[in-house]
């Protein structure tokens, strides 16, 4: 689509949100569009960065991601100390988190995109990611339906580094752990590597600014998975296939209320729509050119997308909700998520090769 009609459509949707939903949701749509444009424009793929590190010992992607985490933490942790209205992305350390993060890391390599990656690539018009999106949503919904059973396997209360060590302590610990992770990367890639890439750096800076705006406006960190699950939950309820009152997760007051409201009032939904639109904006200038997939690759990719959605709910987020938002707001679960997802990715890149992606 050309940019002029696209701009007109976005402006119309923005005004619709202003007059029919809320000004905040309209502004969050623009924040989401910025995220989509940054993700797609910089090709800021969490999945690709990890794969390049493993397969080519190329540290540029993970350096960009570490920069994003550091910048977002430097903004979010002090802001949360200042404003009591701002919530952290606190997930419980649990068996569900361990399994979910591992499986998510594995499947995101096969599906070639995490939560944000699936969104921006769908916005760019990559066929597999457009196909994955609805399956990711249903997987995320099914994961939320089964969440209480997974949690019964073992969990502890969420741990906030800010509550444990104060804002300064949490920030120092977060930055120290990021530096430690980069030392590990240095040991893996060896000497003589290029660490900085302009594309990854501007993507990291833009995303850190936009994630901070999301936190200030919405009062909660950037997330992707919840909105997807909500969409599928609403469809399932409308079809009479699901009774939320009989489910531990969806009968909770906040979730039950959101099922009765339009998804346009949901923060994660509106930023996700914005990401799709922002990526579409980028694709108007530089359309993506992907190689066609075989029927087997399509089938494997779609199954991986569904499992990725399911496991993202078990892991209390994807690369955005658990890793970026969890770590930048001082949640221990973000730090548990990363090594488990990375271990899954190490298996996933091999499976990806095996299936000829």
């Amino acid at each position: 689509m050309k940019r002029l009609p696209l701009a007109a459509l976005v402006a119309a949707f923005f005004l619709f949100l202003v007059f029919s939903v809320s000004v905040r949701q309209a502004v969050l749509l623009l924040v989401g569009m910025g995220m989509g444009a940054a993700l797609a424009g910089a090709r800021f793929g969490f999945t690709t960065g990890w794969r390049q590190l493993i397969e080519q010992r190329d540290p540029r992607g993970v350096t960009g991601q570490a920069l994003l985490l550091a910048l977002a933490s430097l903004a979010a942790l002090p802001l949360m100390g200042q404003f009591s209205e701002l919530n952290a992305a606190l997930g419980p350390p649990s068996v569900s988190l361990l399994i979910g993060a591992f499986v998510f890391g594995l499947t995101m390599q096969i599906a070639d995109g995490c939560g944000s990656g699936t969104l921006y690539k769908a916005g760019l018009g990559v066929p597999l990611n457009m196909g994955i999106l609805p399956l990711f949503a249903f997987g995320s919904f099914l994961g939320s339906v089964h969440l209480d059973q997974w949690l019964s396997l073992g969990q502890t209360e969420p741990v906030s580094l800010s509550a444990q060590f104060g804002t300064d302590g949490a920030l120092a610990l977060t930055l120290g752990l990021l530096a430690l992770a980069l030392l590990g990367v240095r040991a893996w890639v060896g000497s003589g590597k290029q660490w900085i890439d302009k594309r990854w750096v501007w993507g990291a800076v833009a995303l850190a600014v936009l994630a901070t705006l999301n936190l200030l406006l919405a009062g909660q960190p950037w997330g992707v998975v919840y909105g997807f699950g909500l969409w599928a939950a609403k469809v399932s309820v409308a079809l009479g296939a699901f009774d939320p009152a009989a489910n531990a997760f969806w009968s909770q007051a906040g979730n039950a209320q959101r099922l009765t409201q339009t998804v346009l009032m949901d923060v994660t939904t509106i930023t996700s729509i914005g990401i799709l639109a922002g990526a579409l904006w980028v694709s108007a200038k530089s359309p993506s050119a992907d190689k066609p997939l075989t029927a087997q690759q399509w089938a494997i990719g779609l199954v991986a997308g569904f499992v990725m959605g399911y496991s993202s709910r078990l892991a209390f987020g994807c690369n955005v909700g658990a890793m970026l938002s969890g770590i930048s707001t001082g949640s221990l679960h973000g730090w548990i998520w990363v090594p488990l997802a990375f271990a899954g990715t190490m298996v996933g890149v091999r499976m990806r090769r095996r299936f000829g992606f």
Binding site: N87, A122, L217, Y226, G317, G321, G326
Partner: protein, 55 residues
Amino acid sequence: MSTTQKLQWVFWLGLAGFLAWDFSASGPVDLRNEPPLIAAGSGQATSGGHCSMAK
């Protein structure tokens, strides 16, 4: 029109259709109680859904 472009139209029309259906089938929006534009400093507790939530 290429197959990918057709798929793109299906995708976007599907999304637009879902949002239109959802808006018409859901309860009305209470415009008088809309959330503050900026949560930080508003004095109002935020209550949005997030993927890190266990409940």
